[in-house]
Amino acid sequence: MSKLETVGLTKSFSGLVAVKDVSFHMDEGEILGIIGPNGAGKTTFIHLVSGILMPTSGSITFKGRDITYAPAHVRSRIGIARTYQLIHPLENLKVIENVMVGAVFSKDKSLKAARKSAEAICAELELDGLNRDTTQLSILEIKKMEIARALANEPEVLFLDEVMAGLNSDETKQVIATVQRIARERKMAVGVVEHVMGVIRELTERVIVLEAGELIAEGPYETVSKDPRVVEAYLGGAA
């Protein structure tokens, strides 16, 4: 059964259609790649699904429940989490508190319980120095912290918007392995937006391709990456 499903999802910004009639679904435990040219609407799509933006038309269902216009915090509480393309640390909170936010408000945990589960998640991601200020973190650590915070929501569906961007390949591999493991353990559906094709190849079983807001291709990476439309619009000679 699909965890998350959209039908005819559309978003326009005063004339410019950023997401156009996108119907897609995500299943339990799958890792889905979302690729497409710059400005194709990937980030906007995640904004729509996570409730940061409201769609112009179309519908979104989560486990059979219509959530098209549900506010963001409600979606987080029922099990949709995400990270952001641009980092969003809460800089007046310690690292551990940053992670606790997810547990406290999405899962209504007490501060004590939240701290415990946050510590566990951080350990899993190999993030330490939890009493530091976020300004002292490197990019890798901030990204880990944001993944940890999203995981602390204990989501059933998780979107990662270019989390590996800016990491070197060593670091990327490490993050990929962790995400894969956690997704498997928790039977979580994960949507990954990336421009580094190596990541997509390693991580995902199925890929959807957006272009100019439209879903133009779908399937395993190997197939999709040979689709002439994808090659022309997105990969160029680089594939």
Partner: protein, 314 residues
Amino acid sequence: MKLKGSYIAVVAAAAIVIAFPAFLGAYPLNVARSVMTYMALAISWDMLLRSGQISFGIAGLFGLGSYASALAVLRGGMNPFASVLFAAAFAALVAFALGFAILRLRAMYFSITTLALMEIFRIVMQNLHDFSGGPEGVVLPKIIFDGYSPALYWLCLGGLFLTIGVSWYFEKSKMHLALTAIRNDETSARSNGVNIFKYLLIAFVATSALQGMMGAIQVQSYGFTTPDTAFDANFLMLPMAMALLGGIHSTIGPMAGAVLLGIASEWLKLKIPYGHLVVYGVIIILVILFMPQGLFGLARKAMRNRRKAGANNE
């Protein structure tokens, strides 16, 4: 161990403050009341500030509380003590109703709207001649405790303790996480399940109730109110300056700032009868320029450095 130590310190400090009337005269008690009133306003203002919302409505809610209490006694024959609670509840109710409209606003737009509301409250009180006494205000038949200084002091102190308590709760509970998250990054907060509106509303209603309560205590202690005294812009700017001076986003900072500015203003006035406000203004300027984190920030920094130095020595 450490926790216990700070508890003892807090209890001791509270005991000393409660015992003040035993060894202080009417004048220091009067100054203390004024300082405590500003302190409570500064703390309550800071509590909402922790969510990033800069309210310019302190004086408005303070004034509203003053009028609610005075009119409840005068027109409704309410007991003065009950009227203080009534004023707090009334301010909370008004804040609750207004909150639905204005808590969607941010930054300067929120500030201006709260400022405009304060002016509206003032103009309404000024124009409802028969009900609120118009520009000349209302005089109560008698003041609470018949003006007995220590009792007035304790009443005000009670209000302050309550404010400190609520603020402390805000610091230690998940309100702290919620408000800080909202201040730092609303998008991120929303995506992590924080119901922004709910927490803003809680903070706005709670702080408004405290401000209204302090207004009621003030009016019952002086026995009169007018639109100009109840909605005095000083109740707006000074608490802000005090909080900033002491260090924002904390309970102790606004307290330190209120003591410093409150006592400085009284002292300057006695030393420089003509022109003390010039020096007052200059002090504010200098403190902001040279202590941008406030007293508390400075202390925090010093402590951190000392701790670091200690760590290095090991």
